[in-house]
């Protein structure tokens, strides 16, 4: 039987997405550098698994944000940084699609980000990567190409708040459950995708170059 964690796309209940966790990305959008992590929720109905197409609603400018996803194995609340590893089942490569023009509009009005982040198909996701396959989650390369051209190419060592700190912060507010996905923020290079574009993404171990995940969609 598959665990809930391994089948998180079907059986997980929430996606907790961290904002502004890479300095270069914070700067490219002229945002303030956060003093502590912050997050928003995406619905699991936004998952787009095994290819397919991101649906861009009429009038929406849809930006790609390549991110490392952390899949929760053992649930908990008030998880300490020291214990956080025991709560991780594995990883996934994800794209946090963002309706940037709608997000800009709601930010001006101090309204929630939920719609701008939550459209169906706005979370393209790779297969589950068991944590045994990952030597060091803070030394992974993650990249995204549009029509063969690199747009994002980062390394998880550049996170301002590393994964244990993120798990500590989120679980101090809301209980994490098996199958929940934690998105850890995006490096710089975000930008729009257009209908017909081919988007390819990859995740690899930066020390061994071992490929951990690939993800392609239109």
């Amino acid at each position: 039987m598959t665990s809930i964690a391994a089948s998180f796309v079907r059986n997980g209940k929430k996606i907790v997405a961290i904002g502004r966790n890479y300095v270069d990305h914070v700067k490219e959008l002229n945002n303030a550098i956060p003093k502590e992590p912050f997050f928003f929720l995406k619905p699991t109905t936004s998952y787009l698994h095994s290819g397919g197409s991101v649906e861009i609603p009429k009038g929406i400018i849809a930006h790609h944000e390549i991110e490392l996803g952390v899949v929760i194995g053992r649930g908990g609340r008030d998880i300490s940084q020291a214990n956080s590893g025991a709560h991780i089942a594995g990883y996934a490569l994800a794209v946090d699609m963002t309706a940037r023009n709608l997000q800009d509009e709601v930010k001006k009005k101090s309204l929630p980000w939920s719609a701008a982040k939550g459209f169906d198909t706005f979370t393209p996701i790779s297969s589950f990567i068991p944590k045994s396959e990952v030597t060091d989650p803070q030394n992974l390369n993650l990249w995204l190409k549009i029509n063969g051209e690199f747009k994002q190419n980062g390394n998880t060592s550049h996170m301002m708040f590393p994964i244990p700190r993120l798990i500590e912060h989120v679980s101090s507010i809301m209980t994490l459950e098996e199958g929940d996905l934690l998105l850890t923020g995006t490096p710089s290079g975000v930008g729009p995708i257009s209908p017909g574009d081919t988007i390819e993404c990859g995740l690899s171990d930066a020390s061994t170059q071992k490929e951990l995940a690939k993800l392609q969609f239109r």
Copy 2:
């Protein structure tokens, strides 16, 4: 066997909460009247079922917002107002607890509302009310008392956007699934609860006075 809808507290995946849907509440917080519905997401880990205590984190001012919850029975996307009734399994009485000082702070910074709305125990919820027991969901009284004193006392006929419009709007952005809960906004009278307060809430049919739900917590 219980349906997913009837056991939505345990088995539902998302809570979609509408903001500013009663004019008197919009005015009491000096907010702008929205031209179309907007919403945020709450995690299902925030449910507080059958009594218990709302946990108020240190430094947080926790406001009560009494709301009618709509439990989705049949999932769907792009649901029309005309078809929306067929997607409803029933109702529940809910309190959308809100960390008001944290919400004010993130609104100033144009940040997401997710933490301010998402703490564990921040969605006290009644038992499931099958829709067969509800004559007209737009003519229900909902009230909240603290230590015996009325704080909120509204009627769902005063929603600016009625339930069919809310379902149409949300499902145009994200697929609704069986067991999802739609919170429909709060009437005026929101305010803080303090540790030790007894909070009692009720939902009744305004034409027959039939009581549909009661909810008590501390």
